[in-house]
Amino acid sequence: MAVYRRTYASYAGALTPGWSRWLVLFRYARRNLFRSKLLTAFFVACFFYPVLCLAGIYLANNLSFLDQIGARNNFLVIDNKFFYYFTAVQGWLAFILTAFAGPGLISGDLANGALPLYFCRPFSRSEYVLGKASVLGILLSQITWVPGLILFMVQATLAGPSWAWNHLWIASSLVVSSLIWIAILSLLAMALSAWVKWRIVAGALLLAMLFFGMGLAQAINAVLRTDLGHFVNLAHLMNIVSNTLFRIDVEPTISASAAAIAILVYCAICLALLLKKVRAYEVIR
């Protein structure tokens, strides 16, 4: 099928391994995302706070600087709260980034019926979801737990091995809480994108879901005089889990295990909604 011959030719060469096909989708989807200058600019902006934290860690461990400004004991304490606030700030940035990037991942394929083109090939629905979710997963990881771990390692290097050993649990808390947040955000964004099919509306709906959830939770709690309303507030549920993971001492409104189960249920619902829509053709019964 050479260009100049213009004839049909079959292909009998080597094929790539079947397990690696989802990476193709990841590569194309990521390339497509970064065509947007706005998204690229926001992605870069997401690294300002980690750089600020890095400078803070450096200065907090620089005794001569602390002596110069006379703040040896009260400049900045690098502890669980420091990494908790880092995770919280980056978590909100991750949420905004998801609202930008998430809805366009699937809606573009659904809007013009491209799904049969994917699924008529040796490529499954779960590989499709994996390929698309990995774009968000890796993108959000790059601004949450990856810089968080780098900061932890920098602090461990500057403060010495005993600090690292005593605070190793912070690293795991950082990774686990970020991964939970990334999972729920990615699944929610993709499920909304699959059901709404319109990128802008899906993005707005994602923002609305979080803020509307907060308001609804307050209303339920006030009207029914209960704490059950917190179960519809995703950000609050995540906050409870993070508080527990980072050992922040606050009075919990609901237990951390209940919050974790609620998040798990939300993830399962999103996945079910997503898989219901992600098929070559919808069957009208």
């Binding site: 050479a2 004839t7 790539t16 193709v24 394929d109 013009n112 049969p116 040796p122 098929r279």
Partner: protein, 311 residues
Amino acid sequence: MPTPQAAPPVPLVELQGLSVQFGNRDILRGLTASLKGRAIGLLGPNGAGKSTLINTLLGFYPPHSGSARVFGYDIRSETKKIRGLIGYMPENDAFISKMTAVSLVQMMGELSGLPANVALERAHEALFYVGLAEARYRQLGTYSLGMKQLAKLAQAIVHGPKLLILDEPTNGLDPSARQRMIRMIREMRDSGQVRILLCSHLLRDVEDTCDEVMILKQGGIVHYSDLNEERKANKRFLEVEFYGANGDFSEAIEKLGCECAIRSNRMKIILPDGVESRDIFKVAAERDVRIRKLNFRRDTLEDIFLKAMEN
């Protein structure tokens, strides 16, 4: 010394009592057939189950009962193997509007298992082949309907499949674009490297490209035939218009062993083996009968289709 016999060709598609249901509705009812041709046409009125059959073969819909095999692979358990051998051009719009044609076709090639560099090379070749060379760097959202059809064809052939499934390939094409599409389908069929399953409600498309036809009606098979055999059979059937004949002429024709029916100055003749049309001319010349018209009756696909629908 016995001559080695060629192995019988693997049936393209084997259906064994295949049924598909959506809810409680029967869409396909116990289809049984073995399709072996190079190019097979699926015909039927709207709602006959043509697209459902294709989608079931691709593994999009699960069979309710019965089974089907494509190149000997079971559609329930070996879906990935089947999909690896198939190129599919869907009926409806299927594209990503923000992507260029070359990117989409390359991505689809890679998803079919081609290495990235090979996929890019073949994407260009496929787009040149279908006639989108100049427009291959344009976003698909800016394409006309005809160009989108061509892009769908390009993505279906980029990985060099062994079976090409075309669902209404000439939808929305103007006459010249339709001719071009039909010519490409014929070229691919004649290359012997790919077999074709063409689904259409346009009889002309099927007649122009296929050598076998399966007609569906209300989810069942009402007719399956080899069009070449039908065409050969029709060559024994003549319609003759003449002047200046008397009873001698029809008697002489019958003496040749032909069956004939005469009405005014027209005669329908079924030729037996060994008798050709020149024998008819000879008999006419001997009796000074002037033959004004002699046609081989051509049982068109339309006739076959209408008969199948009546049945």
